[in-house]
């Protein structure tokens, strides 16, 4: 017996803690990517904001910070086009003295984006907001969840509440993100091993899997599409990343492999990809791996399998299962988009729409506390 209200809160507790974990992993992987790229190459942080779907809010949060600094007053899309044109002019100028902006600009952006994604309480999708929301949801289902599970999440909540603001420094931030990821994994472990695998647990699994699938499509739609769209993205075209040409393209071309490693790391997929593919890290095959693999737990197809299995344990799952069929159909259509950035972006948008429909079907069927 599972109350609809409790089902709703478990489902959302799972979604929020998964979102916190995934966002933490995304920021961590990006920080790592930065470390791998040569110092004079500026990697953009703003796309991360797009991944978590908080662009408009990020603009608003920046407006406050930027009012004193003219050079940083552009909106994201403006600064994006600006940095591209600047890179082009830079390729002619050559020297670092000609860098269009304060060399700390990259760092400043990193700081702004990282704080926004990690510790900004006004951003509903920040790591801290998601941990708080997950706890609020689990707090009201304490009678259903094993005590250790609640304790793990409450501990994490206490930790992020006191530590989040200290995460401006990169090393401190990394420790913070590691803790969020580890505790989210621990929570899953506690529930998997200490909670009866009844309908309540199924709602938890469902929330986890749906959020995770959503995040993988977002990473692909923004980060992967961006790397694919870069002029020299196809590794072969510049000699497998060995030849480094002097200019703007070096970021996206020569470091393509590193960029793809970054994409894989954002979904904890690097090692399993290497194991599955046993070849060079190539864009299209990374995209296929993250979409099509039916056993890698963050690949969309594998997640749909998990969602299907979970639904099968709930009463009368007909309508939500139809919605899963639909997501799978959209997934099949997206197969052809693995080489073209713009097409991939569009395909991922369609996939997200289909996942949102699935979420609505689950809500209508199980979570609505009707009259």
């Amino acid at each position: 017996m599972l109350l609809s209200r409790v089902a709703d809160r478990l489902y959302w507790a799972a979604r929020y803690i998964e979102r916190a974990e995934d966002t933490a992993r995304l920021v961590r992987a990006h920080g790592e990517l930065m470390a791998d790229l040569p110092a004079h190459v500026t990697t953009r942080w703003e796309p991360l904001v797009t991944v978590v779907g908080s662009d408009a809010q990020f603009e608003r949060s920046l407006d406050g910070h930027r009012s004193q600094s003219r050079s940083q007053s552009q909106s994201r899309s403006q600064s994006q086009s600006q940095s591209q044109s600047q890179s082009q002019s830079q390729s002619h100028g050559g020297g670092s003295t000609q860098l269009p902006a304060d060399p700390r600009l990259g760092e400043g952006t990193e700081m702004a984006v990282a704080s926004f994604l990690v510790s900004d309480r006004s951003n509903a999708n920040s790591v801290i907001s998601c941990v708080i929301a997950a706890r609020e949801n689990l707090r009201t289902t304490r009678d259903t969840v094993p005590r250790d599970g609640w304790r793990t999440l409450n501990d994490l909540y206490l930790y992020v509440s006191t530590e989040a603001d200290r995460g401006r420094d990169r090393r401190v931030r990394e420790r913070f993100l590691n803790r969020v990821i580890a505790d989210s994994r621990k929570l899953d472990g506690v529930l998997a091993t200490a909670m009866t695998h009844d309908e309540a647990y199924v709602m938890w699994r469902l929330g986890r899997a749906l959020e995770r699938a959503n995040m993988t499509t977002r990473v692909l739609g923004v980060r992967a599409a961006e790397v694919l769209s870069a002029p020299h993205a196809v590794i072969g075209s510049n000699g497998g990343g060995v030849v480094i040409d002097d200019g703007a393209d070096e970021l996206d071309g020569a470091h393509g492999e590193i960029q793809w490693m970054g994409v894989l790391r954002s979904v904890q997929g690097l090692q399993m990809y290497s194991r599955a593919v046993r070849g060079p890290i190539e864009g299209p095959s990374v995209v296929r791996f993250l979409l099509e693999h039916d056993r890698f737990p963050r690949a969309v197809r594998a997640l749909l399998r998990e969602i299907r299995r979970a639904l099968a344990e709930l009463p009368d799952p007909g309508v939500p299962l139809d919605a899963v069929d639909h997501v799978e159909a959209v997934l099949r259509e997206s197969a052809s988009s693995s080489t073209d950035g713009a097409a991939l972006d569009d395909a991922m948008d369609s996939l997200q729409v289909a996942i949102a429909t699935l979420d609505r079907r689950i809500t209508d069927r199980y979570l609505q506390v009707g009259p």
Partner: protein, 484 residues
Amino acid sequence: MTETRAARSPWDEMRDADGVPRPASEAVLGVIDRLGVEELHARQATAAADILTMGITFTVYSDGTGIDRAWPFDVIPRVIEAGEWARIERGLVQRLHALNQFIDDVYNDRRIVADGVFPADLLDDSVNYRVECQGVHPKFGVWAHISGSDLVRDSDGTMYVLEDNLRVPSGVSYVMENRAVAKRAFPEVFARQTIAPVDAYTDELNKLLASLAPEGVTNPSIAVLTPGIFNSAYFEHAFLAQRMGATLVEGGDLAVQDDDRVYMRTIDGLEPVDVIYRRIDDLFLDPEVFNPESQLGVPGLMRAWKAGKVGIANAPGAGVADDKVVYAWVPDMIRYYLGEEPLMPNVPTYRCQYDDERRFVLDNLRELVLKPANESGGYGILIGNRATDAQLAAQVESIEGDPRNWVAQPILDLSTAPTLIGDAIEPRHVDLRPFILTGETSYVTAGGLTRVALPKGSLVVNSSQGGGSKDTWIVDLGAQWEDY
């Protein structure tokens, strides 16, 4: 490790007038002496950290917003010898028997009124009397299944019942949590002594609730009805549901159907509920009968209860006997219904509705505690010798404006217990709230919740107003129960 003593010494729970540890406290005081304040501090800090990560909280309201605070806990336990406790237990069981017979009587035959023992106008004026409950016969004739009486000890060592909380008394979860924390703080004492365990409560509660199921229901479905996360006792509601394997529900989760049965809304449709342990006030229970604005309750719940289709604890209307005025009659009730003398004394209580008693109260305001009849949580209480002239003047006005709503009692010199305050161990005033279960049989918690007023000299123990808590140990020394 010295304790300062006030000029007129209140009773110390752990040491006698000469400062010698009472027999049951000897072991723990010995350990505390050996540990020293620094180690005691370390254990207090560990306990505080435990409380924080276990998420043991209560909610305080200030400016309309609720703040979740960690439960305040003093690491030094309060000790009561088992022989004394056995007598208190018997007194409480007796008291609840009489109170339940009284409630059943006033909603049915009103024998006590007919026999001239209890004044009829008190019922008609009582804000807690529910005409909607007239003629109802709950199982076993019991209305107040779960009660939490407040006990205080005066300077001569007498333990009094200060009030009977018969509506939705809270705090029992903290009894169990305090024990869990104390066991970690003083493992050496628990290993050496016989300290009565407190964990059985939820099991006893579960059995009691199951016994309230409608006739013919064998494996009853039990729900704990909470007003929700914003209630100050939400933690407790979740705790009890969790311990009993009951379902924690909010009003919106329940519906009464045309068959007069109560159902929960589940992912698989409506599922029946047989017993409800409600933690919301009478007036919010059923918008069809009581407050029509209530979002917390369940339309039709009273109908289902009256039809015998659902058991409700505590029964609606039980609060009629939980009234600081009705309190004054409890000793008479015990004599009237049970033909026994009260085993636990009442604090002498002056009722302002009677001219002579009111005159006495108004003439002796500074020596009395003034209590509004129908407030809980320590709100509205005025302690005469600590009030300003303006407060006293306002008090006179309140009493004259609504004498029925006021009673007065002598200012008791509440007993103290050693408490860790900063770097010292100092005496602080305490009370005790044991929990009593009444159904076909009775059960009393081993000890209860000791609340401690942390500010020096304060008598207000409510956690909403700066009170802390202690674990309460019933220590069995294995001898002479009757000559304590």
